[in-house]
Every structure is written in C-alpha cells, then in structure tokens.
Symmetry: D2
Subunit: 151 residues, 4 copies
C-alpha cells in the first residue's frame, strides 16, 4: 500500500514559502512516498508540484463536491463535499505530517494530528506544543518525518 506523508499549510503564500513547499514535495517524491494534502492552492499546490515532478503520487482531499477544483499537480482527487471537515481525512490518510507555515486551517490539522498521536514536523509553523518537531529546512523536515513514521 502506498505510504502517504501529509503536507499542510496556507492556501495563499509568498514566493519564499512556495519554494519551501516545493522543496518539501520534491524530497517526498524522491524518497518514494506519496503526498496527501488539501488539493488546493498555496502550500498545497507547490508541495504537490514538487512531489509530482520527482515521481511521487499526489492525493488531494478536497473540500468541494467536484474534482475540478484540484490544483494541476494532483494525481488523485477525492472531492468530499464536506468543507473543512475534510481536514481530518487528510490527517487520517497520512502516516505523519509536515506543516509549512499555516493559519487557522492548518492549526486544526495540527491539533487533529497530535490528538490522534501522529507525528508532526513543523517548518516555520505554529509553535504551540513540544509535540511538534521543528525542522530547519525542507530536506531536514522530510528526513525527520520519514524517521518518525518508520519507528
């Protein structure tokens, strides 16, 4: 079965964060993991782009009712029609998650992940718990999450 790493973060972000997300996705694909995300723009789009380009499968769990809302780098769209309730499905589908910046939507995902006992690595994200493992850069983030989900 395909092993998925979740990438969560803001739906809108500046160039620096786009690049961070892209590098995270690239590393995930290189390590032969799949990526699961919310399927929309910003961090979700750039992480999916990176993973798609390095040969990884990208899964988008969409809030909308229809697959056409997915960004162009999503290989597999799951349109839930459940709005932000889909945040929990992203978390459940991932073995562990990397949070790249993020606002309140991302915070709901971090909270669910920690409640369910799933590892969370953070790149410039919410600093609300010692349960979030900090990473220095995209490669470090992917190294850390892959170790955490393998142990």
């Amino acid at each position: 079965m395909k092993k998925l790493i979740g990438v969560i973060g803001s739906g809108q972000c500046d160039l620096d964060v786009q690049n961070l997300a892209y590098q995270v996705g690239l590393e995930i694909g290189k390590k032969n993991y799949g990526l699961v995300c919310g399927g929309l723009g910003g961090v979700m789009e750039y992480a999916a782009k990176g993973c798609h380009e390095s040969g990884g499968l990208t899964v988008g769990i969409l809030p909308q009712e229809d697959a056409e809302y997915a960004n162009p780098y999503i290989d597999l769209a799951i349109p839930t029609g459940m709005g932000v309730a889909r945040n929990l499905i992203i978390v459940r589908s991932a073995l562990g998650l990397i949070a790249v910046t993020g606002r309140y939507g991302t915070l709901s995902e971090i909270a669910y992940a920690l409640q369910l006992g799933k590892p969370v690595v953070g790149l410039n994200t919410w600093d609300i718990s010692e349960d979030i493992v900090k990473a220095d850069n995209p490669r470090d983030a992917v190294d850390k999450i892959t170790k955490l989900i393998s142990s």
Copy 2:
C-alpha cells in the same frame, strides 16, 4: 430559533474545572441561551448539567453512532458516527464558543471557530491567538460571549 452557545473543553477534568464548566453552563441557561457541546464527559458534562439545571436546552453532538453515549444532562442528542469530525459541527451550530481548559480536541475546535470567524472566549485555555478573548471567571465568560454574538 434557539440560539446556541458552544462550550468546549477536556473530556476528563479535575474538580476545579468541573465547577468552572458547571458555572458556565448555569449562566448560559440563566440568560436563555441553549448550549451545544460534544455531549460526553468532563467539561461537556458539567457545562450541560449547569445549563440543564438553569432551564436551558442542551444539545450534544456526539462522535458515536448512537444517542446512548450522551451524558445524562443532554436534552437533545445528535449522534453523528463521524468521530472527531463532529468537532466542526459543534462549531458551526454555535453562535460563539467558550473554551474551558482543553487539550488537542479543544484546540481543533478553537482553530475551526477562528477560521470561520466565530467569537471564542477562553477560560484557562490555549493561549495561541489574540483572537481568543480571555475571561476571568464563568460569569465574565458568558457576559463576554453574549455581547460578542449580539454585536
């Protein structure tokens, strides 16, 4: 239509927090609001007890598939069978929320509420955003949330 205030917090808590939650519920009922919560134990149970005793309607949005899991002070049980995805339905059903302590489940509810732009008043809870209005005691919390949802 019945106006509901959400009360969120830990499913297990000590006597001091039980009393805080009870007083919050009592004040909600006195002010003729209904209370919506997760329907289970701890803060949910004591807040429902208070509201029920002061004549307010208590609604429990349950993670389980069956109403029998509701605490004894729930007047109306909505068993979702959707696990913690029900957290979002609690938030959507409330005009505003009072968080009493709480762990990661409560954090997911606070995050959803702030994402949706609903007012949140905090009593000894997560201190993660200036968007959470701090209260000194149960009466202060209910005063503040009722003002926020009326404005």
Copy 3:
C-alpha cells in the same frame, strides 16, 4: 432526552404532499415527540410547520454551513456544511423515520435507515422493500412509527 422522529421527503412538492407532511408534523407534536428533518423546503418545511404548531421541538440538520438556510419552523438548526452527507446524521438522530414521497435524496435516507435497522414508515414513497411499513394517512403513519420505536 428528547425523542425524535425523522421526517424525510422531497424539497419541492405540490399542495397535496405539503398537506400530508403538515399533518404528519402535527401528529408528531401532539404525541410529544420532537421532529428531525433536513431543515429545508417542501416536505421538510411543512412537516416542521405542523410539529412546531402542535408544540413539538423541530430540529433541522442542514447541508449548508450556516443556520440561516433553515426554514422558518425549525427551532434548532444544526448546520453541518457537509452537503448531503448530512442525510446520515438525520437518520442517526431519529428513533424511526416517516418517508413522505421523496426522490433520490430520500432514497439515500431510507437506505441508511434500513441498513442501520431503524424502522421506516412510508406514505406514498419508494416501494423498494418489505422493510418499509406502509401507512394509509398521516395519523396512521405516526401511530405506526411510534409503536415501532416503542417496541
């Protein structure tokens, strides 16, 4: 705890069906049950109107994200933001259901109810299983469902 009877049926219907739904709601309130429905128009609205007028509590489980979409006879709105996934929550919240006419949305609710082993009484609705108890008129429907959920 309030005992709820679900009323399901088309969101748009002619005068005859509106009257059927209204009579069903009226009988539910007279027997001191609450009513749970999808909270919108057609059968949902007229059943809620009847129940509300005979003093019963009416609960609307809405597909939308906001309570304002409820019809005017809903006492308690639960806006799920989950689209027609809310059909299952209506079924879970009811002890038994009365189907008044209905199209595919109603059929999904009947299917869920029968899958979960909840009694279903039908008034001029889908004739797809002997598990649906047929009723001759609104009073007969409410008599039959109240007997089924009490046994």
Copy 4:
C-alpha cells in the same frame, strides 16, 4: 489526473458474485482506469483484486479510522473515520459507478449517485430506476460505464 470508476456491492458475497466483481475490476484496470471502492471485503475486495492485477490503481475509502482495515488489494487507503458517511465520498470520487449486487449500503450509494447525476451501471443489483443502465456481464458493464463517463 487519474480517472476513477467506482465499484459498489455487498461486503459479503458468494463465489459467483466474487467472480463477477473480480472480472469487473480486471476490465477496469485493462482500460487504464483506476478503481475506487469502500476498501473492505466481498465485492470491494474482489473488484480491487482484479483491478490491481491488471495494473490499475485501487483506492479504498474506508469507514474506519485506520488504513489497516483495507483489503490487501488496495493501493491507496483513505480512512475517513466517518462510518457509512464515507459512501458519499466514494460516489463523489468516481466519474461513474458499477453496482454488483448489493444490499442497503449499496442502495444508499446508488441513490447518492443518481441524485448527483452520475452514471450507474448495474450487474444483478437494485432495480429501482430506469436511470440505472443494466449490463449483461462484467465486460459489458465496464464498456457501458466508460462510454457514459466519456460522453
């Protein structure tokens, strides 16, 4: 983006139906479609087996909270933790559906599909609407659904 055909049917079934489901899955993979199903046993398992063996991607949208409940032929598990509410997500993720036998759970999926206007092809399944296109055998079913979703 991967195009998915949904296969729905009973979680327990006899050898004849297992073979029908297996043949349906085989044809789906041969035509380079992916398969989405409920991820559990019976029709879901044998259809996934067929599709997996002919090189198609298999997606299982699970009712449970954890991927470990998926049958062995699921390439990608989406554990929703939402019980049978996941039926709707199967329907939304598919361009069209093939129903192989089935009981009330399958009926809820057929109802949702027809409500959303998605094509449904039936193999020995519920005969409740002319909107369900009947097929004579697995190859015929897959031929018919692929034509319907391409038009």
